[in-house]
Subunit: 116 residues, 2 copies
DNA sequence: AATAGTGTGTAGTATGTAGTACACATGACA
DNA sequence: TGTCATGTGTACTACATACTACACACTATT
């Protein structure tokens, strides 16, 4: 699934309930030109900036990490976390690359409940 | 410490032992113009591309994740790992943001020796 | 029948990224 | 004392990113 298709789908589903989710009105609310949003939704332009994707995610009530991933981008705040301890997190991520989802989830929970 | 200062330092230390680590010769070996490397080492240009940083790291025997971090960049292979499961890794990283180093190291070892 | 709102095509722009090319002054050294 | 290598200043370039501006055709509404 591409970012554009996903966004158009999400917006149109929203629109069935709420008439204010036209392309033009959403474009107005997130602060871009309608023609540009149109091209985004049809994947006729490279993915927009992180900021614009975030505003779209917020507007459409979607997960911004997921939308950013569809755009091939990693959220700036995650990058900042890695950049503070690059070698440590590099090791961790490479270790977890092929780990199954449930193993990572276990780690997440362990850390959340961890007592250091 | 900036990337430029760090690189100049690393190269000049190297040079004391090996005369071939002049700015010009290193530039030649990593495939950039001497004038450009000069500017990089004096932080007079924005950090070079990931590829160029990697070649520098290799040439000077430095950790590329560390050099990339000084350049404000996250290694492309780490980004690829995150992009495959963005929500999972987003949760994990945000959980670990303020965890002490030793806790993360523990996780790394746990995962390495893990039996799933 | 007029008007308002909708999505889209085309063209253009500002800024950032990632460098090259060439000239120049200085110092080593044979 | 010539020449060779070294680091650096200036100017320029190609491509990518992230959009805007305007015009147009179609649809729905009143």
């Amino acid at each position: 699934m591409t970012l554009g298709r996903y966004l158009r789908n999400a917006r149109e589903r929203r629109r069935e309930r709420d008439r204010t989710y036209s392309l033009r009105q959403v474009a107005l609310r997130i602060g871009v030109e309608p023609a540009y949003l149109s091209k985004i939704e049809r994947d006729q332009v490279p993915p927009p900036s992180e900021g614009t994707i975030r505003r779209l995610a917020c507007e459409l009530d979607e997960d911004s990490d997921l939308l950013l991933a569809m755009a091939g981008k990693v959220s700036g705040d995650l990058q900042a976390i890695i950049l503070q301890r690059p070698q440590l997190f590099a090791d961790l991520l490479r270790q977890l690359k092929d780990a199954p989802d449930h193993a990572i989830l276990t780690v997440v929970r362990e850390v959340r409940d961890g007592d250091w």
